[in-house]
C-alpha cells in the first residue's frame, strides 16, 4: 500500500518516492514489474500528474526504476549494490547516525534500530 499525507510538510512527490521504495523493499512489487502509468497512478491517488512524474524521475535518477518507452516504468534488478549508490547512502545516513550518537544512542542501540527497520520490512513481506 502507498500512503500519502497531503497536509504533511514533506512534499507529496517525496512521500511518493519513499512509499514506492518501501513497497519494493517489502516485496509487494518485484524487479521486472511495471509501476502504473503516470496518468493512472495520478488518477488513483487524485493528485496532479506532474507530482507522479517528478517522483518517477527521482526514482529513475536513483536507479530504482528504468523508464522504458511503451512498457513504462520498470523496476530495476539489483544483485548487489554499486559503489556510487553505496557512497550516496553513506552520505545520507551519516548525519542521521551522527544525530543518533549526539542524542545519546549507544552503538548497540543504533545497530538494533537498523535491525528493527529491516525486520519490520521483512515482516510485512511475510504477511503479504
Amino acid at each position: 500500500m502507498i500512503q500519502i499525507e497531503p497536509d504533511s510538510e514533506i512534499p507529496i512527490y517525496t512521500q511518493l518516492t519513499n512509499q514506492i521504495i518501501e513497497d519494493i523493499a517489502r516485496g509487494n512489487i518485484k524487479p521486472g514489474d511495471s509501476l502504473p502509468s503516470v496518468r493512472s497512478f495520478a488518477a488513483d491517488l487524485g493528485v496532479n500528474m506532474h507530482t507522479v512524474n517528478k517522483s518517477y524521475h527521482e526514482l529513475e535518477k536513483k536507479g530504482i526504476i528504468q523508464i522504458v518507452p511503451k512498457s513504462g516504468a520498470v523496476i530495476a534488478k539489483h544483485e548487489k549494490v554499486d559503489l556510487t549508490t553505496y557512497e550516496k547512502l553513506k552520505g545520507v545516513m551519516r548525519p542521521q547516525i551522527a544525530e543518533a550518537i549526539v542524542s545519546g544512542m549507544k552503538d548497540e542501540e543504533i545497530h538494533q534500530l537498523v535491525n528493527t527497520i529491516i525486520s519490520e520490512l521483512k515482516d510485512d513481506q511475510t504477511n503479504q
Partner: protein, 367 residues
C-alpha cells in the same frame, strides 16, 4: 390497459425503488454527499436521516403513482396525454427526492462540523500499486463487433437504396410503429445508422475514459473499497456493452424494417421491440446498482486514527465534482451508483456532450 400506461407505471416504479434505496447503496463513507470517517459511520443520527429520507420518498412516490393510475383509468385519454403526465410524475419524484437530499445534505454537513469528526483524525490518501493489474473491465475492442454490424448496415442500406420508401421514418412510438418521417435522400437514408455509429464511438470514449479514471481506495477499508471499485468498473463495462448491443439490435431492426417492411413478421424480435428492450435495460441497471451497492456493506473494525482525505471541498452540493488536480474524467457518484463527470476536466465534456450535440444539431437543421 393502454401500453403507454403500463410503460409509465413501470418507469415510475423503477424510479421509486431506485430513489428510495439510494442511501443504502452509495459508497459506505459518504452519507447524503458528505464524507463521514469510517469511525463514525454507525452514528445513530445518520441512520435516522437515511430512514427518514427513504420513508418520505417512498410514500410520496407511491401516492403519486396511485393518483396517476386512478386519473388515467377514469378519464378517456390518448397515449400521448398519458406519456406526458407520466413524465411529469417521473420528474416530480426526482425533484422531491433531490429536495430531500439537499435538506439532509445540509443537516449532515452541520452535524459533521459540530462534532469535529475529521479534526481528530490524520487525513491520508492511499493506493495499491498492483490494483491496476486486477482491473477486469472488458477490452475496448469488444465494441468493434457492434460497430462492424453498424457499418455493414450502412453498406447494406446503400446497396438497397432503391428499395427504401419515399418517406424515411425518423421516430418511432412506444409500440415500435414509425410516427415521424422525412424525405428520402442519400443522407437521410443512412442518417439513423450514422447516429448509431456516433453513439457507439461515444460509448467507446466513455469506456476508455472510465478505464483511465482513478481506482479510489479508502485508507480505512482498503479491502472493501477495492472490491467496490473493481466491481463497479467491471459491471459498468458489462452494462455499457449490453446497452450498446441492445441499441444496435434495436436500430438494425428499425433500419431493416424500413428496407424490407415485413422481414421480421412473426418473429420474437417484433414482439419484444421496443418495450422489452426498455424493461431489460432498466432491470439490468437495478441489478448493477444492487450488485455494486452491496459490495462494500460489511462490518469491519477500524484501527488507528487515520481517515481518507476529506474531498468535500471538491464536491459542489455534494453532487458535482470539480478537481483540477485529479486527471480522472469519471469519478464515483456520491448520491447514486455509478460514475459522474469530473467537471474540471474538459475532455469529459468532449466525450459526453459532443456526440449528443452533433446528433441534435443534425436532426434539427439537416432535416
Amino acid at each position: 390497459m393502454p401500453v403507454s400506461l403500463v410503460l409509465s407505471i413501470f418507469i415510475i416504479l423503477f424510479l421509486t425503488i431506485v430513489q428510495t434505496v439510494i442511501p443504502y447503496l452509495v459508497k459506505r463513507t459518504v452519507v447524503f454527499g458528505v464524507t463521514i470517517p469510517e469511525q463514525y459511520i454507525r452514528e445513530q443520527k445518520l441512520n435516522q436521516y437515511r430512514k427518514q429520507y427513504s420513508f418520505i420518498t417512498f410514500i410520496v412516490a407511491v401516492l403519486l403513482l396511485i393518483g396517476f393510475v386512478i386519473w388515467a383509468l377514469t378519464n378517456q385519454l390518448n397515449e400521448e396525454q398519458i406519456v406526458i403526465v407520466g413524465t411529469f410524475i417521473e420528474f416530480g419524484i426526482i425533484f422531491i427526492s433531490l429536495s430531500l437530499y439537499f435538506y439532509y445534505h445540509g443537516k449532515i454537513k452541520q452535524l459533521k462540523q459540530k462534532s469535529k469528526w475529521t479534526e481528530k483524525l490524520k487525513q491520508v490518501k492511499v493506493t495499491d500499486l498492483s490494483v491496476r493489474t486486477q482491473d477486469e473491465m472488458l477490452p475496448w475492442y469488444a465494441y468493434l463487433l457492434p460497430m462492424i454490424i453498424t457499418i455493414g448496415l450502412i453498406i447494406y442500406t446503400v446497396m438497397n437504396y432503391n428499395l427504401l420508401p419515399e418517406n424515411i421514418p425518423t421516430h418511432w412510438g412506444i409500440t415500435g410503429e414509425p410516427d415521424a418521417f422525412t424525405k428520402k435522400t442519400p443522407f437521410s437514408a443512412v442518417q439513423m445508422p450514422g447516429f448509431l455509429l456516433l453513439m457507439q464511438i461515444m460509448f467507446v470514449g466513455i469506456h476508455v475514459a472510465t478505464k483511465n479514471s482513478g481506482i479510489k481506495l479508502s485508507a480505512t477499508n482498503a479491502h472493501l473499497s477495492k472490491r467496490r471499485q473493481l466491481g463497479m468498473r467491471k459491471y459498468t463495462s458489462w452494462l455499457l456493452f449490453f446497452v450498446v448491443f441492445a441499441m444496435t439490435i434495436l436500430f438494425t431492426f428499425f433500419q431493416l424494417t424500413t428496407i424490407h417492411p415485413n422481414v421480421f413478421d412473426g418473429t420474437l424480435l417484433q414482439l419484444i421491440i421496443p418495450f422489452g428492450f426498455l424493461v431489460l435495460i432498466l432491470l439490468s441497471t437495478i441489478l448493477f446498482a444492487v450488485k455494486v451497492g452491496r459490495s462494500d456493506k460489511e462490518d469491519i473494525v477500524v484501527e488507528g486514527d487515520i481517515t481518507d482525505i476529506d474531498e468535500d471541498r471538491y464536491w459542489k452540493g455534494g453532487l458535482w465534482y470539480f478537481n483540477k488536480n485529479d486527471p480522472s474524467i469519471f469519478v464515483e457518484k456520491r448520491f447514486g451508483v455509478g460514475y459522474t463527470l469530473n467537471f474540471a476536466n474538459p475532455i469529459g465534456y468532449l466525450i459526453v456532450f459532443l456526440p449528443l450535440a452533433i446528433i441534435i444539431l443534425v436532426s434539427f437543421f439537416l432535416n
